[in-house]
Symmetry: C2
Subunit: 463 residues, 2 copies
Amino acid sequence: MATNIPTRLYLAEDELPANWYNLRADMREKPEPILHPGTLRPAAAADLEPVFCKEPVKQELDETIRYIPIPPGLLEFYKAYRPAPLIRARFLEKALETPAEIYYKHEGTNTSGSHKLNSAAAQAYYAKEEGLKALTTETGAGQWGSAMAMACAFYGLDLTVYMVKVSSEQKPYRKALIETYGANLIPSPSNTTDAGRKILERDPNTGGSLGCAISEAIETAVKTDKCRYVLGSVLNHVLLHQSIIGQEVKAAFDKYGIKPDIIIGCAGGGSNLGGLISPFMGEKLAGKSNIRFIAVEPASCPSFTRGKYAYDFGDTGKTTPLLKMYTLGNGFIPSANHAGGLRYHGMNSVLSKLHHDGFLEARAEVQTEVFDAAVRFAKIEGILPAPESSHAVKVAIDEALECKRTGEKKTILFGLTGTGYFDMTAYMAYNAKTMSDYIPTDADLERGFATLPDIPRTRRFSL
Amino acid sequence: MATNIPTRLYLAEDELPANWYNLRADMREKPEPILHPGTLRPAAAADLEPVFCKEPVKQELDETIRYIPIPPGLLEFYKAYRPAPLIRARFLEKALETPAEIYYKHEGTNTSGSHKLNSAAAQAYYAKEEGLKALTTETGAGQWGSAMAMACAFYGLDLTVYMVKVSSEQKPYRKALIETYGANLIPSPSNTTDAGRKILERDPNTGGSLGCAISEAIETAVKTDKCRYVLGSVLNHVLLHQSIIGQEVKAAFDKYGIKPDIIIGCAGGGSNLGGLISPFMGEKLAGKSNIRFIAVEPASCPSFTRGKYAYDFGDTGKTTPLLKMYTLGNGFIPSANHAGGLRYHGMNSVLSKLHHDGFLEARAEVQTEVFDAAVRFAKIEGILPAPESSHAVKVAIDEALECKRTGEKKTILFGLTGTGYFDMTAYMAYNAKTMSDYIPTDADLERGFATLPDIPRTRRFSL
């Protein structure tokens, strides 16, 4: 174990990693390709460019280039809020009386309150470079929408945000934040799109879902001049941008001679988890380390732990390309739990492949226990975590207590993806003890799986 | 001008200042003493100890010790969130096309969202050391209440917070945050104290004031066993704790060879402003620099710019010792503007003395223009400032634009005391253009001045 480690392991500005890391370049077994939903053949750049910005499409499909330089015009923006603090949880260690060393990477110090800004800034930067005027997107918890609003304000782009209706009601301040940065916010499902109208016809009282908001945002993007759609998670280019998180941790750990044994991250679409673990997973795949990686998801939306590894649409409207992933089915609408950022039916393809191949563990947690851990962490470490991040806090505490039981002095790292400052409605429910744990029944899951596309086995294997 | 200055001028953990700086030790003309309200003689420690914790009382009265060591058990807590970022506002400079260099000290990265935690942690630490079980306090904007809730959770003390009623209604999430950290929150005026009941009788619909909430908190503290009252601003020991802000800036500026020409801070009770300017003011008083210091207050609560320099009570209930300060009168209740932390009738004695003696300028700003500056800053620099901090942002922009006019390449520093994440109601009002500028009439001020205590001139000079 290293000595003389400060509480906060800051990197200096000139130690900020200059490259993203593309994990796929180091995977011998590549993730399954994205398929065009019509032809069922691997999607080409030309298939994706009507919807997405050009450079991100290139990044989405590239599986060979290991390090991708962060453009200077973006790096400048990163420097306004990065490197993000990497903190030794000394108080938590002491309170738990654990022999484990616990570190957390705190991505919540920027105004959007989460790691989402890392990809939002990148995507807005590329859109501006490409000469676009506007972007559309969706947001669940509101973190991605806030991040995109900040990024678009900075780079001078118009932005329309479809916000999952239940979130826009639970989080009026998130809505206000997004609007303060100048974005046009529309609760989803809405009457502004065919996709939204269709869902409202079927279920006028729906609280919405990420999958549905995505359909609306894509539809608006393709119908608008000089406009594209941006997504905050699930896709490979988003994970690439988020690799800045893991790159920074790796640089700081190398600087202080720290070697993690367990890395824990919450998993919704996978962007934070993928970004955090990327460089460490690369070493594991190369046989250079034996780190355990743990994805934590809500028991109410358990794609890794109870989903199917299958091709599925990314959205409820079945308009996106097909992704091979752990999924609950594009029609699965999770109960209104308080971790809005973890209410997505699917999971990034790279992470899905890694889980399928046994490199990435997964665990599902119920929200009352997650909030128990969150409040405990807040009182001890002084930072109020986002409900999403609290899933990682819960498992980090569990693993530290396991070390206490066994006496092992492990080094645990977890991703504190964001702060809960805009999630006080959730904490109010927790304080008032009105919070429930929703666990889908097998029948709920079957209804979701019934929405999976029927892809002929022969076609899949002929690719 | 210095070169190779990073965007964020971090100090390493071992560069964190180990001492607070007591500006009074370097003032040849000392501020007027605190008076016992009964005898009108300078208050002694024994007069203050029934209300306040012992060590802070010692610090309150000491005018001779220049550097006061920060206790190790407190420094450990400081290290969890300090040193606070000192940021070069490169994007703002560029957007304003100013030759000025602009820096801001960002105190909003901790969960309480402001600098208040610096003194909250200190006061909770001393209370614990003294063997107390509980504390009471008041909060206006909610920042101090949040900070005390965090500090008491950390050091294991019970806490009752009287929150100015209008703030508790404007900021339900602040209330929830304070409660999540385990404090007992009571909107003020309340029926739990004689002081509260008296005010409610006179005006049942009052939104409350800091002065009134202070009366309630003091009354409860003195009636409760092993309990004391803590205050988050105005008093000298609070400014002493906040000197960590200026000490850090000074250390970073010295490290990079930067010399400020203008230092700007918002002023409510004076804690942030006093803390930020202390070490620089010490140099000015010693004739070693010619820095301009600017206090910015809301036009709706203009103690420096339209108040009287007189002895007054710190609270509406007239229960505190008397302080010589710029004051609008203890009975002055400012209009319900959105900078809850700047709605106090008086001002710290040291700062009042410095203003009276010509060392500290003051300016009053209306809130719509303050919010114009805040939103501009947010879009350019990426951080949504607290309404209070935005007063400093406004004047920093004005001064930078003045440099543009004159061509002078000045170095401007301002205090970004906190973030606006819990102030979204204010931003919603701004976005909806329903925000008004309240400026008290001369008659309003006269009503306030009529509440000033009548202290015989002879008694005052016989001290």
